[in-house]
């Protein structure tokens, strides 16, 4: 703690953050120096965003201390963080589309007299900021009329518009930028460095990281792993540090060997494309096979699954049992016995206020319809009770509102709902997100069991060990394209290399 190095501007020591019993950060350490770009590297969910939100005053650390510019730093809110000279540019856009660029950049800090905004001063001030940054943007334009890339630049201008920034955090700033705008951003970063501003940079793009960074820190599972100087480290070493855990022992073994390549696929997808989301993706899956899909955020995997289920229009050929299948709505998909456990169970999977029974039967209501549309309630109850038993859903009764169950049991209820439709093709998008370890293992067992019964499974996950541990084969996506189809035994390093695009 002593021997304060003159140019260390931010010092994070032993910081932890608990959400209930779950530790999102454990013993985090970081030293960021003035005038340097410090990259934070880690898988989705490694704890990068949590750490940044603590620095920005959005979250409060559970333990540990932070020192900023030589004095203790515990911001109560983002305003206090900004006042201390720390600014953060989030990857999610936080702009009002129906207001002008100038109004957005100076939002909440408009020059005003007695509460009346001085529009001319506002535009002049914003124009100065934009000019200083070298952005080719008209400040009187409405944000809604700008491209996504231009909006991202406005977001950056907004973040940098505070007085005298000392530390700037950029959270995946290039994810929606084209090359020209990325160059503008990099020259902004160079100028900030020259002024002695420290930069924390978060990105998944390896080439960019190697070009821009001075220091690189890797975090994994909420823990600090190591810091390296850019000159002393290779991409391969970084990836190894990022994924370097032992494959956990929580993946149950295959009940049967995967089907041979010679067997006809139950589902084949060819040249599947949708503008701006995914492009010419082709794959096939056989009865009883678990086909994993891995990709970082923005790789287009979830969007593609939505399109496959008829929720979005896409071009390309989809064949079920060799027959071309035109699927334009979930109704079509369900008729072809495709089921879709989405990544957001609360929004798209469940009616939280309704009972477990109602939620389980909702995708298979036709099964319980008698003459004149009357419900066969006794059979509905029996089916729901059976599923609760089969999937060991822990609930007081089938009448309990599903919203009062734990995350794992809610997820099993979504699974039960789809199993009642007797799917032949089951799409699972992040099936264990927000689920505790015990329920995770049970869900893995159910997936194995379903595969053994002949269901073809598309398993989408951003948890690398999960896809590697469960899949027979693995499709890796990078920025909307299929970057590799790998055998189940692929190493994490290979998968990560394809997912970050450094092999292409």
């Amino acid at each position: 703690m002593s021997a304060v190095t003159s140019d260390v501007i931010l010092k994070i020591n032993n910081v932890s953050k608990l959400f209930g019993p779950v530790a999102a950060l454990k013993n985090m350490h970081l030293e960021v120096r003035a005038g340097r770009v410090h990259t934070l590297l880690g898988e989705n969910g490694a704890g990068k965003s949590t750490l940044m939100k603590i620095l920005a005053g959005v979250y409060h650390a559970t333990g540990g201390e932070v020192e900023f510019c030589g004095s203790p730093y515990k911001p109560e809110n983002p305003q206090e963080a900004a006042a201390r000279g720390l600014t953060i540019v989030f990857q999610e856009l936080s702009l009002c589309n129906n207001m002008t660029v100038a109004e957005n950049i100076l939002a909440t800090r408009e020059p005003s007299v007695y509460g009346f905004i001085n529009d001319q001063a506002l535009e002049r001030r914003a124009a100065e900021i934009v000019r200083d940054l070298g952005l080719p943007i008209d400040v009187t334009e409405k944000v809604g009329n700008l491209s996504m890339a231009q909006r991202q630049l406005v977001e950056i201008a907004k973040g940098l518009s505070i007085d005298a920034p000392r530390l700037v955090i950029l959270d995946e700033p290039t994810s929606s930028l084209t090359e020209a705008e990325t160059d503008i951003l990099f020259s902004i970063i160079d100028r900030l460095k020259a002024k002695g501003v420290a930069i924390i940079y978060i990105s998944h793009r390896m080439e960019e990281i190697m070009r821009l960074s001075d220091d690189i820190s890797v975090i994994r599972d909420g823990e600090y792993i190591a810091t390296r100087q850019r000159e002393t480290v290779t991409i391969d070493e970084l990836i190894a540090m990022m994924v370097g855990r032992q494959m956990d022992e929580i993946y149950p073994p295959h009940l049967f060997p995967p089907p041979p390549e010679s067997e006809a696929p139950i589902l084949s997808v060819e040249g599947f494309s949708r503008d701006g989301e995914f492009k010419s993706v082709s794959f096939e899956v056989r009865k009883g096979e678990i086909l994993g899909f891995f990709g970082l955020i923005g790789s287009g995997r979830s969007e593609m699954m939505n399109a496959l289920f008829g929720l979005k229009a896409a071009s390309g050929t989809v064949r079920v049992d060799g027959e071309p299948a035109i699927i334009t709505s979930p109704v079509d998909a369900i008729a072809r016995r495709i089921a879709f456990v989405t990544e957001n169970r609360k929004e798209e999977g469940l009616v939280l206020a309704h009972s477990v029974e109602w939620n389980i039967s909702m995708a298979a209501l036709g099964r319980f319809a008698a003459a004149l549309g009357f419900m066969r309630k006794r059979e509905e109850r029996k089916s729901a009770t059976d599923e609760v038993g089969r999937l060991t859903i822990k609930t007081a009764s089938v009448d309990t509102p599903v919203g009062s169950l734990s995350g794992g049991n809610q997820q099993k209820t979504v699974l039960a709902k789809w199993l009642l439709t007797q799917p032949r093709i089951l799409i699972l998008d992040e099936p264990t997100r927000g689920v505790d370890v015990g329920a995770k293992f049970e869900i893995y067992k159910i997936i194995r069991q379903l595969a053994a019964e002949g269901t073809a499974i598309l398993l989408v996950s951003s948890e690398l060990p999960e896809v590697l541990g469960m899949s027979d084969r693995l499709v890796v996506m990078h920025e909307g394209r299929l970057s590799a189809t790998l055998p189940g035994g692929a190493t994490p390093e290979t998968v990560m290399a394809h997912a970050t695009g450094i092999t292409s």
Partner: protein
């Protein structure tokens, strides 16, 4: 409780009683208060009168329950009530008989509901705005045939609906009973009813589960239109005429009845039984205050306060559960 309202029960009567304990207690309390204030209140003749008075609101409220259950609103039903009456009067004038007129009137209600439903489901417009607009449009349509004057109805069968009795009960009450049973069964016993609950509970999840939510929406606005048309038939029958201002602000009483009965404005929760009790409370308040010669403007204030209280209790009980 409201979350479990629709769940099947092992002991239906005990559960029903517990579920509606609050609102039933209010109903009984109101009856006690009015009996003390006025001995004429608790007579068979007066209670029959109350039931006949609430018929128009209760039937419109059955339709409104479907709409609110969906998380939507239908402000045009007051105007549909008037259009239905005028359509009937004009049909009789044109020489149609009872049955053709009845069918035509019901079709008019269904068509107006269809218009609302298509605008809301297919064009994705908010139901509040759509039905504010059609409330005005339908109200304007009423006056077209007569330039704003009322139209007499002289068909004896039509008049008999509001005036005659059948097996000791006024026909109007029989109609309420039949429509209550119809709506209750459709909502709680059929797949259509279930789809309405699911769509209102979480539209997104319903879409993902293969429910054709647009069709459900359009069908429900048509039900609301048909129920309002039946209310219009009863009203015109009791008044022997079609009035251009008939049914004005009835949508508010219908909404109040549904909400008092526990239908959640955010959708997915509600029952026809609750709405029936809600309509009874509103009817008894109107009748009791009239008998006790409470001035009309005080009645409005009291009704408003009762609705606020009911909604506050509902919101509170939901918060307590979370």
């Amino acid at each position: 409780m409201s979350d479990e309202k629709h769940a099947p029960a092992q002991k239906p009567y005990a559960k029903l009683l517990r579920q509606y304990a609050g609102i039933l207690a209010s109903l009984i309390l109101l009856c006690v208060i009015f009996s003390v204030m006025n001995p004429r209140f608790m007579t068979v003749a007066n209670l029959m009168n109350v039931l006949q008075q609430i018929a128009v609101i209760a039937i419109a409220a059955f339709g409104m329950t479907w709409v609110i259950l969906l998380g939507e609103i239908d402000l045009s039903i007051g105007s549909i009530i008037a259009v239905a009456g005028m359509a009937a009067a004009q049909a009789f004038l044109a020489g149609f008989g009872f049955l053709p007129t009845l069918i035509l009137t019901l079709l008019a209600g269904a068509a107006m509901g269809l218009a609302n439903g298509v605008l809301i489901a297919k064009l994705g417009l908010p139901s509040f705005i759509v039905t504010v607009a059609t409330m005005g449009i339908f109200r304007g349509l009423v006056s077209l045939p007569t330039n704003g004057a009322p139209a007499m109805i002289e068909d004896p069968t039509w008049i008999a609906i509001g005036a005659e009795s059948f097996v000791g009960l006024p026909i109007i009450i029989w109609i309420v009973v039949v429509l209550f049973v119809f709506n209750h069964v459709l909502l709680s016993k059929t797949t259509f009813g279930r789809r309405a609950y699911l769509t209102g509970g979480n539209r997104e999840a319903a879409v993902y589960s293969g429910i054709k939510v647009d069709r459900v929406k359009i069908a429900i606005f048509m039900i609301s239109g048909i129920m309002a048309a039946i209310s219009g038939i009863l009203l015109s029958s009791r008044l022997y005429s079609a009035q251009t201002n008939a049914g004005t602000s009835y949508e508010l009483d219908a909404i109040a009845a549904a909400v008092l009965g526990g239908t959640s404005l955010s959708g997915g929760v509600g029952t026809m039984i609750g709405t029936l009790i809600g309509a009874l409370i509103i009817g008894i308040m109107n009748n009791g205050m009239n008998l006790s010669t409470v001035p009309y403007f005080y009645q409005l204030i009291v009704k408003g306060l009762v609705i606020l209280l009911a909604v506050w209790l509902d919101v509170n009980s939901k918060r307590a559960k979370q």
